[in-house]
Amino acid sequence: MSGALLSVQDLVVHFHQDEGILRALEGVSFEVHRGRTLGLVGESGCGKSVTARSILRIVDRPGRIVSGRINLDGRRGEPPIDLTALPANSRRMRAIRGGRIGLVFQEPMTSLSVNYTVGNQIAEVVREHQGLSRAAAHARAIELLRDVGIPRPERRVDEYPFQLSGGLRQRVMIAVALAGDPDILIADEPTTALDVTTQAQILNLMRRLQREKNLALILITHDMGVIAEMADEVAVMYLGRIVERGPVDQIFHAPRHPYTRLLLRSIPSVLAEPRTPLATISGSVPHPYQRPSGCPFHPRCPDHIPATCEAAMPAETATADGGCVRCYAAEHT
């Protein structure tokens, strides 16, 4: 599809450690569009968070982008920028981080500073990215707090994060992420630490803000329920690769990759019969140092084709609905 706001192409990220090379991402590609939500889903170690951190160029040491491109569409007709070519601490990258791309983490308590008021933390971002005066930035902070549904923002603006509940802190985190007026919002497990009724409030809030601001949203989660509620397009990751990508309805109702199919069958659902066993995937996700050869899912795969699947990684095959799948078995069906 053309007109992508952000296009990630064949991204490879490695962590060089004493024990060896940890291949966190092994060629990840996807696009993000205005007003649309891409859901990145997978189990621990699949690389979904490293993907987000790579886009923002905040991968922890000793992680390093080995190859690939991250093209961000230029504003006002400017040419696209390849974020992998920018030094992580350059002025341009800092302007993009927070300015063009906002980030919401799982745990607001660790990502908000305990030493500054909520208002100061929002105003700081506003001033850095929009060059407003101190007074104007303070006023804008109150406006943003109101935007994210915080009651009595004129009072809350002078409070510290520890004075707020988990749900309110996550709203503040979203206000900080929006303070630079970004086009893209990356939300990494934004509701995982929240209770279910608070989760519903935050998901509704993100939907409303996306609509109002025509944001592109990258939603990273392990929760298939959240993906089903929120995403337009879904990318399923396993050990550093997208194994299947497609429209949300196709992923849930006609999954092509055996991993997607099994993952969907193994999730507990409120719609299920009580006291019924769940379908399981044999074994567990291998340690990234012990990545199986070929398709890394083959030791757990029920459709495993001997001698084929362990020989080489299957290529990305395009599907009719604009998605793709990486599986030898899926090609035959």
Binding site: E43, D195, A228, P268, S269, L278
Partner: protein, 333 residues
């Protein structure tokens, strides 16, 4: 036959202020909770953080001393003992019949002990058998939780999260208990591993006739695990019913809202959810009347002044709501 009967359990914490630490109020963490668990049955306690579900489980394990109430436990043919008043000296002989499974399999296993020693520890502490007997029992337990015999002499760090949770389960089963208190036993696990542990717990229950008190916030897992479900809000049970009834025909507005808020793993079921306004009430300063009334879409004047009783509506279904007879609420599945 009733294994555990909790009657009007209360756990209050004093709030003290000032130089003299004068008592200025109290937090009613658990405020009159009653339920029963039959032999071979699973009762789930669900609710959001701070509702008191974990405090109830800790009072049952005597990790906390209850303020008042009764916890009558009848593991054998003898008449039940009251765990609230039982002298500590007699606790050990009773407690071997009730064991706990924890949320975090990383934190709850001693990293310096082998898996064999970890599982054998409760046997050793209770002077069960000779060293050879204990070794046989541990090997039998490993088989029961589907771990290889080779696990015996290895250390916890060599195992994945799911395998470590199996070690925790084997340790809990070592003394052949009647009751297992499981506090969020699968919430720290990946989806595919979570399914394996849910199935294992169901299977062990059938084989060994165990009773479970399952403390959880995830209603999807609860639906798969439970015979009956009790929903807690601000220290009280607001609804209790057989699982299918509670999910399909909830009688308390809070349960309805909880069920509505759970993300359903099917994009075709996206619909208008009931999104509760505001936040869970502060147990140190609960609202008058029904604690849920400030957030309840059905609240009337009476709810603001009078605390509702748990009202039986038939077939073991009880709800703490003044309007229980007139409201028709929607469930799921």
């Amino acid at each position: 036959m009733t294994l555990l009967e909790v009657k009007d359990l209360r756990k209050y914490y004093a709030i003290r202020r000032g130089l003299l630490q004068r008592r200025v109020g109290e937090v009613r963490a658990v405020d009159g909770v009653s339920f029963q668990i039959a032999r071979g049955e699973t009762l789930s306690l669900v609710g959001e953080s701070g509702c008191g579900k974990t405090t109830v489980s800790r009072c049952i394990m005597r990790a906390l001393d209850a303020t008042s109430g009764e916890i009558r436990f009848a593991p054998g043919d003898a008449p039940p003992v009251d765990l609230v008043t039982l002298p500590r000296s007699r606790l050990r002989s009773v407690r071997r019949h009730m064991q706990m499974i924890f949320q975090d399999p990383h934190a709850s296993l001693n990293p310096r002990m082998t898996v064999g020693d970890i599982i054998a520890e409760p046997l050793l502490v209770n002077n069960v058998g000779t060293a050879a007997d204990r070794r046989d029992r541990v090997l039998q337990l490993l088989e029961l939780v589907k771990l290889p015999r080779a696990a015996y002499s290895r250390f916890p760090h060599a195992f994945s999260g799911g395998q470590r949770q199996r070690v925790g389960i084997a340790r809990a089963l070592a003394l052949d208990p009647k009751l297992i208190v499981a506090d969020e036993p699968v919430s720290a696990l990946d989806v595919s591993v979570q399914a394996q542990i849910v199935n294992l717990l169901l299977e062990l229950q059938d084989r060994l006739g165990l009773s479970y008190l399952f403390v959880a916030h995830d209603l999807s897992v609860v639906k798969h695990m439970s015979d009956r479900v009790a929903v807690m809000y601000v220290g009280r049970i607001v609804e209790v019913a057989p699982t299918r009834r509670l999910f399909s025909k909830p009688r308390h507005p809070y349960t309805e809202a909880l069920l509505s808020a759970v993300p359903k793993p099917d994009p075709r079921l996206r619909s208008e959810r009931i999104v509760l306004q505001g936040e869970v009430a502060d147990p140190a300063d609960p609202p008058p009347g029904c604690a849920f009334h400030p957030r309840c879409p059905y609240a009337v004047d009476r709810c603001r002044v009078e605390v509702p009783e748990l009202i039986e509506t038939g077939d073991g279904h009880m709800a703490r709501c003044h309007r229980v007879q007139e409201l028709t609420l929607s469930g799921v599945g």
